[in-house]
Symmetry: C2
Subunit: 152 residues, 2 copies
DNA sequence: AAACCTGGTCTTATTATGAGACTTCATTCC
DNA sequence: GGAATGAAGTCTCATAATAAGACCAGGTTT
């Protein structure tokens, strides 16, 4: 009766969710992207139980999403930073953010905005495009399964 | 000691995760996007416990991501289809897929591929771009908080 | 040196999850 | 037409995950 293990799934979405598919992982990653790198700062900001945070951080380090580094302020403490693999989650966070902005706020409600640092302008919408640069909707795409039963 | 409620969070990422942030929801949505619309088909394909699937589907319907519809094959059964809001999750699924493809497979391992239906060609990478059409990385962006303490 | 911060571990109560038996209609098989 | 099977759940129970908070050992500040 353990939680399902998706790490061997044939579907990349399932494998991703195996690593970052739980309640807290993406919130932790969002915070680290946002410059919150210390255990205690994360705990305070998220309101997560310490024991949970410990196991989540450990899992993310084990999976290669985060790594520990000496604290940037010169003290003997450590901090958690994203690996290259972890940086790759940026589009996932942005996609979640844009969906939330679109669907989960009342018209009169305000929320934080992701802006381009250089210009201060809000970023554009994350879009999937065809090679001819058309925007692709869900209906325009299909999954091509790996056929393990190729008959030559 | 209930699970945290993020539905009032100021951060859109947190609100999104409040709706679709658990283990199964995004897998269900992936399957529905993929044309698996019936309760029993979902249960079989995901290997999820029936009771879990019931509550997950109900939650997604309550949140407006899915809705029930009469079965498309003319039988008296029902099926679950994505609402407009649900379709909006397509970029989230694609982002997760691409991250998984990039980071969670051995070089010699194969996986399914998302292709453009018309041409059969794999879709391009999902990218965030500036207004000048440059690709934006994480380092190029900043969160602008809503300042509730504006001093005029 | 005392007080406080950091990064945890441990315990306990509550909640969520997984497996599978059971149920009620609808549909298909013979 | 009746039996068997499928669809879409509900119910129960054992186990795992989560939340709160007490506790603790070193590092840092005053």
């Amino acid at each position: 009766m353990k939680r399902k293990n998706l790490s061997k799934a044939e579907c990349p979405v399932a494998r991703s969710l195996d690593v970052i598919g739980d309640w807290w992982s993406l919130l932790i990653i969002r915070d680290v992207l946002d410059g919150i790198n210390r255990f205690s700062a994360l705990q305070k900001n998220l309101g997560i139980a310490r024991s949970m945070l410990t196991t989540r951080l450990q899992d993310l380090v084990d999976h290669g999403v985060l790594e520990t580094a000496p604290a940037s302020d010169g003290t003997a403490y450590q901090e958690y930073v994203l690996t290259k693999m972890g940086h790759g989650l940026f589009p996932v966070i942005v996609a979640l953010r844009q969906w939330g902005e679109d669907n989960l706020y009342q018209p009169d409600e305000q929320h934080s905005v992701l802006v381009e640092t250089q210009t201060g302008e809000p970023v554009t919408r994350l879009e999937l495009r065809s090679r001819e640069n058309r925007v692709l909707e869900w209906r325009d795409t299909t999954i091509r399964k790996v056929s393990s039963d190729l008959k030559p």
